[in-house]
């Protein structure tokens, strides 16, 4: 039962990634794409991490994986800002 739940979580995470990629291709401008992509992808990674943590009950691995996720959450926020700034600077030139 836990295995099934873990699998479904991972699968929905993967679908999030697909949605993010399609958004990257289909959304009209760079700010929309930034807005959509950073959120959707981090949600997808979170779901995948949740699934993996459920599947492997080793607490050390679980902590490591959650740490990676938190790190990416923080860094992607900063990176999104940097990319938006770069795009703005390009536009104002």
């Amino acid at each position: 039962m836990v295995e099934l739940l873990a699998g479904v979580l991972m699968l929905s995470g993967a679908v999030m990634f697909l949605v993010g990629s399609i958004g990257l291709l289909r959304l009209p401008d760079i700010y929309c794409r930034l807005h959509a992509l950073t959120k959707v992808d981090n949600l997808g990674l979170g779901l995948i991490v949740a699934g993996l943590v459920l599947r492997h009950s080793d607490p050390r691995l679980a902590i490591k994986m959650i740490l990676v996720w938190i790190l990416l959450l923080a860094s992607s926020a900063a990176i999104a800002h940097l990319i938006a700034r770069q795009a703005l600077r390009r536009e104002s030139e």
């Binding site: 790190l71 923080a74 860094s75 900063a78 990176i79 800002h81 940097l82 700034r85």
Partner: protein, 329 residues
């Protein structure tokens, strides 16, 4: 589970995307685009190493191929944009025709080589390589002082290779110090980049130490740790610390030579005590290897930061980062 056809789909996707990225990167004419695609190619290659059960290489590629080489090429971009237009302009028609013929010939030759290689692959040689060396490595692993076979090969069984590689790195560092000038100052960074650097640099340093320590029994080691530490230096340079926290000339020279000279010193000590050069005494191998690796990590990191810097570090009393920091708060 391991034989599922889905793995074939995964492999095909990864391999095909790697080839497409490489082709777009190499054959395009926009240099900046080529570099971005090359960075993406490095990230993808790191996934391929992971898929081929080479986590040691995946670690190194993630640090070197994706991070450092990309940053290195980007830092060289301002010096290389001028050269292309200049040499394209004045050229006679015959020259162009000859050039085209030469290029056609080169392409044909390369296609021939590629076909020959594919034929060699198809001949089943991939499956029939004898693996006696591998058996020897795993047979002697308990006596090597470390549990990670790749570290054992690098620092014990084939220590000469690594010794000479450190010599190569030292030569590169000396070449850069001899030829380079202090680099151009960068634009002052924004507050978010300063914040990001403040979080990432300690994490990268921690990660480098962790990789050094874990390299004894799991994937990791001096090369991966050194590359990650160098990434911390590159990040400092990007945020306006023009010295990248590198020490003054004397300490810098010491850090550059540390790996090689400790390696040679350890080997000489073993020779003097009656053993063969670089034949570690039983029981001490693990400790000696860790010490050599620590120094090698330092040398590798400093060399790579110098490579990105493109010359000796500029002694800057007030890095631009401090200014924005003061303004920001």
């Amino acid at each position: 589970m391991m034989d599922s056809w889905l793995f074939d789909v995964v492999d095909a996707l990864l391999a095909l995307t790697a080839v497409v990225l490489a082709a777009m990167s190499v054959l395009g004419s926009d240099q900046k685009r080529s570099i971005v695609l090359f960075i993406a190619f490095g990230l993808l290659l790191s996934l391929i190493w992971a898929r081929l059960q080479a986590p040691d290489l995946a670690l190194a590629e993630a640090a070197i191929g994706a991070g450092l080489t990309g940053a290195l090429l980007l830092s060289a971009l301002p010096y290389s944009t001028a050269e292309k237009g200049a040499c394209r302009q004045q050229r006679a028609w015959a020259d162009i025709a000859f050039n085209r013929a030469l290029r056609g010939l080169a392409a044909t030759l390369i296609a021939g080589v590629a076909i020959a290689m594919i034929w060699a692959l198809d001949d089943g040689r991939l499956q029939s390589v004898p693996f006696t060396v591998s058996e020897q490595v795993f047979g002697h692993l308990p006596h090597s002082g470390v549990g990670n076979p790749v570290t054992a090969v690098l620092l014990n069984f084939r220590a000469y290779d690594t010794l000479l590689e450190l010599a190569v790195l030292l030569c590169v560092a000396l070449g850069i110090l001899a030829l380079g000038q202090p680099s151009v100052p960068v634009v002052a960074p924004g507050p978010v980049l300063v914040l990001l650097v403040g979080i990432l640099v300690p994490l990268l340093v921690l990660m480098a130490g962790y990789l050094l320590w874990v390299g004894a029994h799991a994937p990791g080691g001096a090369f991966q740790g050194g590359a990650v530490l160098a990434a911390a230096g590159v990040l400092l340079l990007l945020s306006g610390h023009r010295d990248a926290w590198l020490p003054g000339p004397r300490l810098l020279a010491a850090a550059l030579g540390a790996g090689l000279f400790l390696f040679i010193g350890a080997g000489a000590a073993m020779t003097l005590s009656g053993a063969v050069f670089l034949e570690y005494p039983e029981g001490w191998a693990g400790a000696i290897i860790l010490l050599i690796e620590a120094m090698a990590l330092l040398s590798i990191a400093v060399t790579l930061v110098l490579a990105y810097l493109g010359g000796p570090p500029a002694p800057s009393p007030s890095p631009p980062a401090r200014h924005t920091d003061v303004e920001g708060h």
